[in-house]
Point group: C2
């Protein structure tokens, strides 16, 4: 496969926007129509409902956006059946030519990190085979354990053009407790950002961006600008737009001047943009996706490159 | 259920040791006997082999130790079938009256963290029901996102006497990259340790220890001593003994003077203590478990309280 950043850049340019739809299925926010068919109140039923919902969302958003992000936690909450649903959702997204980010915020040490990395990206090694598990284009990684723990993720990603997004400044209100601690004159999150830059520059794509990105929340615009100032050659995955309170103006500083460099995620703002009893919920998801693209186009250059592709 | 720390303390006293057996199944280290029955080279076959291996290890170690720790990464590497194996292994451990730690190093924000926490501990909420998923007695949590992200884990744990172990100083060689950064006069890992102490003191058991513990590697004995000096009332989960290089002398500083306070994990030193072609591999696992207990008894007071229980 081509370099991850080149694949992202190409897909964003083709779509004319850099919106990522977050697949965060929550039982209480699903359409009643779907819940009604899975009312046995088992984890397997919940998983089946999540899968049906996400597949139908994918049908709606695939013509409009380039990337989706699956939130592993909600699938794991359904146990093994949820993991099967996650596999099916990711496979379906790939079939629709969407790029996939697995948001699982994993990390561990040595061969344990390797097991997570290979499962998420390049495939689990069994004898001479490499067997795909989640088979995502990228995953999110927690940096607390340091470079040697991140290394297996880079290795698995670089085997065939996949990517890694490292948590730098998360979107929650209390993210500063440790991330803002000032060490040697700068906050911890900028130390992590600096490391992300070093890792990214080991392998830049032809678009000039690396295959290691940074997760920086839209809810902290000052920090977002500080990280962009430090890292010209890194893709940001920006959560926190929409339901969490981040605005298009807040995230403008996350983009580079050429319009590249940001993957703007919206989850609830799109996949919960309807009342559960609305039979036209798919139209509401489509409208919310288009509204998100239009909103971002007001302040962020990537989203002004072309009008959104409208394959119908 | 009783308070998590009281359950740990009671179980350690009953067994006369504080060894935790790490269930880290790796295909290439499994007994050939088991691999031979699952040679179809699929993820489902790998998962079935992992399950069979872990269940047989549980039979061997359940009479000897109080706690086991399942490494989520190796089960996840087998996809959904691996998660079914993980459920079966954890269920079997509970049936054997073992306390279970799910080593999944999870974290995320808000309701996403809640989904991870409920799946690991108190059960996934579906309507008015709470459905058990991994149903572990405790899990490991990454602190990078801060208190509000750890909060859902505390809440789920405290619903019914379960526990949380927060990464403080991990056992990998490069753990100092961020964990040793000095902020306001002390390293980051001591800031995290200080927070763990605050969280633990919100809910102390009658044994005087809290339901929030700290993961501190045996491979960094100086740091282990520093964290113990700061935290008298916190259980430590200590990885890194044995295969990673930590010795019984190294971990002595992790115990309190009364012999409590540490859960000493050994994974490969026990579950890979044989050549794959050894038909008597279970005897080797038993001998390695007894040798670990005896080794710890030389330097750590908990392991001298009584001789290991020997239900045969």
């Amino acid at each position: 496969m081509d370099h991850f950043a080149d694949r992202l850049t190409h897909a964003f340019r083709a779509r004319g926007n850099s919106v990522c739809v977050g697949l965060d299925p929550r039982w209480e926010l699903l359409p009643e129509e779907i819940r009604g068919r899975h009312r046995d109140m088992t984890l397997a039923g919940m998983a089946a409902a999540f899968e049906e919902f996400c597949l139908r969302v994918l049908e709606v958003v695939a013509p409009l956006v380039a990337v989706v992000k699956a939130q592993s936690a909600f699938f794991e909450a359904c146990g093994p059946a949820g993991m099967t649903a996650l596999q099916n959702v990711l496979r379906h997204a790939r079939q629709q030519k969407l790029l996939t980010i697995l948001d699982s915020k994993r990390n561990d040490i040595a061969s344990t990190a390797e097991a997570y990395a290979d499962a998420a990206l390049g495939g689990t090694v069994l004898g001479a085979s490499r067997l795909p598990v989640w088979d995502a284009d990228a995953l999110t990684v927690n940096p607390y354990l340091g470079r040697d723990a991140v290394e297996p993720f880079l290795k698995s990603a670089r085997r065939d053009g996949r990517g890694v997004f490292v948590l730098v400044r998360t979107s929650n209100a209390g993210s500063g407790q440790f991330q803002d601690l000032v060490c040697d004159g700068r906050p911890l999150y900028l130390h992590v950002a600096n490391a992300v830059g070093e890792w990214a520059r080991e392998n830049l794509g032809t678009c000039g961006l690396g295959d290691v990105g940074a997760v920086v929340g839209a809810t902290h615009p000052g920090e977002l600008a500080a990280v962009r100032q430090m890292l010209a050659d890194v893709y940001f995955l920006i959560p926190g737009y929409g339901a969490q309170g981040g605005t298009a103006a807040d995230i403008a500083a996350g983009f580079r001047a050429d319009g590249l460099g940001a993957v703007v995620n919206s989850s609830r703002g799109i996949v919960a943009a309807f009342e559960p009893d609305d039979p036209a919920w798919e139209a509401a998801v489509e409208a919310a996706t288009r509204a998100t693209i239009a909103d971002l186009a007001r302040t962020t250059p990537m989203n002004q490159l072309t009008r959104p592709a409208e394959r119908s």
